[in-house]
Amino acid sequence: MNKICTGAEEAIRDIPDGAVLMLGGFGLCGIPENCISALVKKRVTGLTCISNNAGVDDFGIGLMLMQQQVKKMISSYVGENAEFERQLLSGELEVELIPQGTLATRCMAAGYGMPAIFTPAGVGTEVATGKETRRFNGKDYLLEYAFEADFAIVKAWKGDTMGNLIYKDTARNFNPLMAMAGKITIAEVEELVPAGELDPNMIHTPGIYVHRIFQGKDYEKRIEQRTVLSKK
């Protein structure tokens, strides 16, 4: 078993034009920076990206949007970037907006081998249009399908050579869910250690879900909204 890649270029080597990708992160927190850079360099196009947000103009998925590599975004909240808005209004980019919890749970369902879930989010709104609803205990729920993604690309804090992953703080967010959901899952980690060095009790994502892993480098970890206590 060898899951270890030398770096992002090798890890994403076979992602073709038109692939469906999941990309972990919430805002710019916990995004797979190295793989995004490699995808930008490789210039694959026609991508469908499932990711909670779409980055900002010069960072995150925004870098891929700048090169028009993305055909469709599936997200819960977008539009922190001007180029995104331009492409959306001109019709170059397709966007599907779905509730954040639905997005998370559709990833989770894929990783748990369940074809669909029922959720109350969006009942009675335009999100419910064309969807099957069912009533349980007097309350309506929408049927939402598990996602199918060719590749899931996640970022973790620590990982080992078996592919086990540990995330840090709120950089966890969608990463463990997407890690479970990809046909091929690629994990970039800040620290890659030999098997046995991570406490099995502390593992968030068991290595069975992870096909490729590498130690990332030069993390920028940009802060979107820097807020601090005001000096009294």
């Binding site: 710019l28 109350p120 709104t125 802060i223 820097r226």
Partner: protein, 219 residues
């Protein structure tokens, strides 16, 4: 006098009870954290995956891996925990979060809420709002009574695309505190110096006024 956003936050904070798990939305609701009454312990949930959100960090101590749902740098309190986004909405869906406070563009007198989309304007998405309103067991909306054009935001039916139906339990505006009942907005309290007539005139939906309506008191 209409109350300001800090007073709105102050008044909502009085709805908190010891031991509550609370999710505060972006904007005025975030300010509620500044007015948690002494002797009451509440745990703040941030839907990107944290229970036990603390205040902003001191300058120089910001951690890019530690943010809230508004993408602001924050801290944790002792006893906090992190989890993934599915578990975060799972605990909301399962009714574990006691109170959700959020802003709105419109609220109907049946408890429908619209707060995510204005037709013709750039749509940024609903984020977690639809999940929160569909599942939270107690939702308080904090907003201005009228929009910048002076039109009522408390309506017989929302005109904007809905975020959720029949879900809001209570509305606090700069003019009034109201419960949402089968009969419509039940007036509970007035902002200091604001008359029932003014509230009535600025409420397009059904407003129920029973007896003397007390003024809000601010310490």
């Amino acid at each position: 006098m209409a109350i300001d956003k800090n007073q709105i936050a102050q008044r909502i904070a009085r709805e908190l009870k010891d031991g509550y798990y609370v999710n505060l939305g972006i904007g005025i609701p975030t300010l509620v954290a500044n007015y948690i009454p002494a002797g009451i312990n509440v745990v703040l949930q941030s839907e990107n995956g944290l229970l036990g959100m603390g205040p902003f960090p001191e300058a120089g101590k910001e951690d890019p891996d530690l943010i809230n749902a508004g993408k602001q740098t924050i801290t944790t309190i002792p006893g906090s925990s992190f989890f993934d986004s599915a578990m975060s909405f799972g605990m909301i869906r399962a009714g574990k979060v006691d109170l959700t406070v959020l802003g709105a563009m419109e609220v109907s007198d049946t408890g429908d809420i619209a707060n995510w989309k204005i037709p013709g304007k750039m749509v940024k998405g609903m984020g977690g709002a639809m999940d929160l309103v569909a599942s939270a067991k107690n939702i308080i909306v904090a907003m201005m009574h009228t929009n910048p054009k002076g039109e009522s935001k408390l309506l017989p039916a929302c005109s904007l695309p809905l975020t959720g139906v029949r879900c809001v339990k209570k509305v606090l505006t700069d003019l009034a505190l109201m419960d949402i009942t089968d009969e419509g907005f039940l007036l509970l309290e007035r902002a200091p110096g604001v008359s029932v007539d003014e509230i009535q005139a600025k409420t397009a939906g059904r407003l129920v006024v029973r007896g003397e309506i007390p003024e809000m008191v601010f310490g």
